[in-house]
């Protein structure tokens, strides 16, 4: 479905990605793990069009999408739920969800999906008129996920959805990610919490300083000694 071939990208003269190649197949849940500054967020930002690749090819179902603006990427069915939630603090919860559906024109479909989000996240319904900035961290993460879903993506990318959440909420977030995949949406997830990410995913890529160091199934990476040493603290 999504394929990156030798993709490099960076910020000004700083190169953050060096020839990254990876693939996400239809229906898969793929994790991207790695240390701070490894280039995980940069990978997602390059896919979603916030950054333009300097070299390499990005294709979706064989069609080149590298360098397209974010709007075009979203229109092709890739949603990006960014690092740090990034809800619009002064928009209401309902408006934040409407922002997720900005490119859609099917009023009835949007209304149905809004109802589905409220059913799935009852807290959001209770707070639908409230400014998103007044929500708790966990609620904001739910809102960010729901907002990304409002575009009805075929592929959804999560950047550290569990960051800064209490353990019980972390569990809940991973359960939601699993549910999303179960309904047929393909998932590409960046996680610091390598242990959880590897257990959850079908396949994973380990990034280090802007390139892919290792790839395999979640179980393979969990068993790999250098992954255990470097990212799981050796203590499993």
């Amino acid at each position: 479905m999504l394929r990156l071939e030798g993709v490099s990208a960076g910020y000004g003269r700083i190169a953050a990605l060096a020839e990254v190649s990876l693939e996400v197949r239809e229906g898969e849940l793929v994790s991207l793990i790695g240390a701070n500054g490894a280039g995980k967020s940069t990978t997602l930002r390059t896919i979603s069009g916030l950054l333009k690749p300097t070299t390499g090819r990005i294709t979706l179902d064989g069609q080149a999408i590298g360098g397209l603006p974010p709007r075009e990427i979203l229109a092709r069915g890739i949603a990006h739920c960014p690092e740090g939630r990034r809800v619009f603090p002064h928009l209401s919860v309902r408006e934040n969800l409407a922002m997720g559906a900005l490119l859609r024109r099917d009023r009835a479909g949007i209304a149905g999906d809004l109802e589905a989000m409220y059913a799935r996240f009852p807290r959001l319904r209770e707070r639908s008129g409230q400014a998103a900035g007044t929500l708790s961290g966990g609620e904001q993460q739910m809102l960010a996920i729901a907002r990304a879903l409002m575009s009805r993506p075929r592929l959804i990318m999560f950047d550290e959805p569990s960051l800064g959440l209490a353990p019980s909420l972390v569990e809940q977030v991973f359960a939601i990610v699993r549910d999303i995949r179960a309904t047929g949406t393909t998932v590409l997830m960046v996680e610091q919490n390598a242990m959880a990410a590897l257990q959850l995913c079908d396949r994973a890529y380990l990034l280090e300083t802007g390139h892919v160091l290792r790839t395999g199934t979640g179980a393979e990476l969990l068993a790999s000694p250098d992954v255990r040493d470097a990212y799981l603290g050796g203590a499993i």
């Binding site: 974010p70 990034r86 490119l103």
Partner: protein, 290 residues
């Protein structure tokens, strides 16, 4: 007391146009982080275009006001496209310098095109004031107030109730995430600058017939627009509205009770006073759009 009531009415009329000016300026700052030094010149531009349409082309007065506002929006869109868009990644100081340059060019252009002599814009309203109890108000001024308030309301509805308004607010708050939602940031910037400029031009078109039109009229008004925006808190729309009316009242009351010659100075005194007491302006940051 009666005199106070009269000043209240006059202050409201002035305040409505000041609010338009302030909102236009604060909107551009809130969305684009651009300090728009051309704002006062767009005000003058609106007044001159009204003059041109009414006096030179002989067009209908109301049509001329609308035309001047639309031309102001077009000029704003052109400034955004030609000067600001290429400077999207530049720092705020460079953008400021370019905007100061643009303001000078506009002002000298006005001087060149219209000459230094002040112009009068004829208007279709009777010169006899409407008298209600102790208060008298010229029909033209009443018209200015009604249109200002209609524009303020229309602008607020646009921002609060429409998709484009929501996209604009989202862009003020987080341009990158707005882009991820499919917002065309360039488009929002153009629209924002065009609307901000249109509000300034509308204020000029409305006040042009009340006062005189001269090439330097943009200077003082530009300064006042900054005063209003700083008074209300940079980037705050409610703040700019309140600030606009506050400045109108202060000028009117100080002009009436203290000294007509120094009426403009009192507005700036108020700003110094408020900033000394509340450095963040009247409306605190959390209620802001940006």
């Amino acid at each position: 007391m009666d005199q106070a009531l009269q000043h209240l009415v006059n202050g409201t009329v002035l305040g409505g146009t000041y609010a338009l000016l302030g909102i236009g300026l604060t909107l551009v700052f809130g969305v684009m982080r651009v300090v728009n030094f051309t704002h006062g010149e767009l005000y003058a531009f609106g007044a001159y275009m009204t003059y041109a349409a009414v006096s030179l082309l002989g067009l209908d007065f109301y049509l001329s006001l609308a035309l001047a506002t639309l031309l102001g929006m077009a000029l704003g869109a052109a400034i955004e496209f030609l000067l600001l868009r290429p400077m999207r990644r530049a720092d705020i100081d460079s953008t400021m310098l370019v905007m100061i340059g643009a303001a000078l060019v506009l002002q000298n252009g006005e001087m060149w095109a219209w000459g230094g002599v002040a112009k009068l814009i004829p208007n279709p309203f009777p010169g006899t004031p409407l008298v209600v109890g102790p208060v008298s108000v010229l029909p033209l001024r009443l018209f200015v107030l009604v249109v200002s308030i209609a524009l303020l309301l229309g602008f607020w509805l646009l921002l609060d109730r429409t998709r484009i308004g929501m996209a604009m607010r989202a862009t003020f708050q987080d341009p990158e995430t707005a882009a991820l939602m499919g917002v065309r940031i360039n488009w929002v910037n153009s629209a924002t600058f065009a609307i901000g400029s249109g509000l300034a031009a509308a204020a000029g078109a409305l006040l042009g017939p009340v006062f005189m039109v001269s090439p330097t009229m943009g200077d003082l008004v530009g300064l006042k627009a900054f005063a209003i925006v700083i008074l209300g808190g940079l980037g705050s729309l409610p703040g700019a509205t309140i600030g606009g009316f506050a400045l109108g009242f202060v000028e009117e009351f100080a002009g009436g009770f203290v000294s007509t010659e120094y009426r403009d100075a009192f507005g700036f005194l108020l700003i110094i006073l408020i900033l000394a007491l509340k450095p963040q302006g009247l409306v605190p940051a959390k209620e802001r759009i940006g």
